[in-house]
Symmetry: C2
Subunit: 284 residues, 2 copies
């Protein structure tokens, strides 16, 4: 195993506790299954942060600080930072550092490659950016997953059933009489040697979500697609019960208000999602 | 269409000429189908560049300058730069700028997402990094391709049949009685409204490569997997004829020598690949 000495760690590491158990414990502690997508667009930043030295970081910082007690997982999607070039990626690194050990930072990167390149991507996600977890795309099969899964303490979320409609172009292909997304859920269970192999299933496909939970009882599931994309948080939580899960909302939370009260509005939206996605009534 | 005014362009743009025609013309001018993978690893850099201000850029610069007349396409894989964090990405941007209009810079990113995120990734690849082309992964179907294809003058290479063995996990799934990779080659032809939709097929699967060329006669094909991965450049070129193509080698060229003659050795290796992949004898 790679030494951890050179790593910046975006989430707390407890020796001997699997990623799956750590996620479950964090959701328990915070009594929340909320994942907030930190996907900033410069043109949508509120006036209050535009004059900051690093407006993207400042926007993220205020949202994080307003929501940290109800949010076990933050999920920056790398696309929004890369679109701003090197400066955007610097804002991302600052965001990961700012969250620190207070939550899991899940780098939504959907990386997928083979061989020494997959090794380099895993190093990028877990060492250079310091994410506690990331999403991957396994179009190239197990080769695309193995170098990520070798980081035993980090969560590796494999795209299984995505929230969009045209995903069927690929995901409804048939393997041994079953759809590809189902095949991958089964493969993920085989690949899960360290309690860190996890899955992504869209809230927009509740039946498929229930089926994935059946096939992969203990695997963490990241559930995007509530809010702007039309999925329902309550249904998603009901389908995903029986193992660790988080329900993501990005735009519905971070742009809950376009005014200078954006952080308070984000907190209210996060609490609303928390209450929907809890399987028992929550105390505020 | 998005305005081009804010773009740094990694490859020359000629109004009204499709990406496919531009690639074919460049291969014709240089009498070469060589693509060089610029995948630098700090631990493999020759002593001659280690003391430079930006060793990664210096390594790339010398290789590019030694090979530019025989190389229509350079393909940096983003993994190797991301693994070095923000500094690595700065070296990448400098590399793209250094190549400028002298070749097509194909960002091997294998990005794939949906909705506003796919739009952000396309902007990242074609505007922030300034690539003339990039690779994408369409596990999410057409949604993952559309925002890239909307940049009419840029090449969009869809992962079809990857060069590795475990790709079959996913790519051998069946759609309408045919393997997924074949299905995607057909879809790519439908999606090709601007002469910029392109495919990736590994040299390690020559029969599949021939089949893809049959199904997608005019589409550019990027062929990885020669050299270190065991594919044969001559066979690949024979199978891919009938449309634009480039054959990629990364380690076989950039690490042809570990000494201070690395750039000259890269040139010799590139010329060897050029001669293999030419469909007619080349003049040196």
């Amino acid at each position: 195993m790679r030494s951890q000495r050179a790593c910046r760690i975006g989430s707390s590491i407890v020796d001997g506790v699997s990623f799956s158990d750590r996620l479950a414990a964090l959701c328990g502690e915070k009594r929340s299954h909320v994942c907030i997508g930190l996907d900033p667009l410069p043109e949508r930043l509120p006036a209050a942060v535009r004059s900051a030295d690093d407006p993207i970081f400042e926007f993220n910082r205020r949202i994080v600080d307003a929501t940290i007690d109800v949010t076990p997982v933050y999920k920056p999607n790398l696309a929004f930072y890369e679109a701003l070039g090197v400066d955007g990626l610097r804002s991302l690194v600052r965001t990961v550092e700012h969250i620190g050990h207070r939550a899991i930072v899940l780098g939504d990167a959907k990386r997928g490659d083979i061989d020494s390149t997959a090794v380099a991507y895993a190093r990028a996600m877990f060492e250079a950016f310091g994410f506690g977890a990331c999403t991957i795309n396994v179009y190239q099969g197990h080769d695309a997953a193995a170098p990520f899964l070798a980081y035993r303490d980090r969560g590796v979320f494999i795209l299984c059933r995505t929230s969009n409609r045209t995903g069927g172009d690929v995901q409804d292909a048939i393997v041994d009489g079953r759809p590809l997304w189902e095949h991958l859920a089964r493969r993920a269970v085989e690949w899960n040697q360290h309690g860190n192999c996890s899955l992504v299933v869209g809230a927009t496909y509740p039946d498929e979500l229930g089926r994935v939970r059946e096939l992969a009882p203990g695997l963490p599931i990241l559930i995007p697609g509530v809010g702007a994309q039309g999925g329902d948080g309550r249904t998603a939580a009901r389908k995903a019960r029986g193992g660790p899960f988080v329900v993501n909302s990005s735009r519905g939370i971070i742009y809950a208000s376009s005014g200078d009260d954006f952080a308070e509005a984000a907190r209210r939206a996060a609490i609303e999602l928390r209450d929907q996605a809890l399987l028992e009534p929550a105390a505020r």
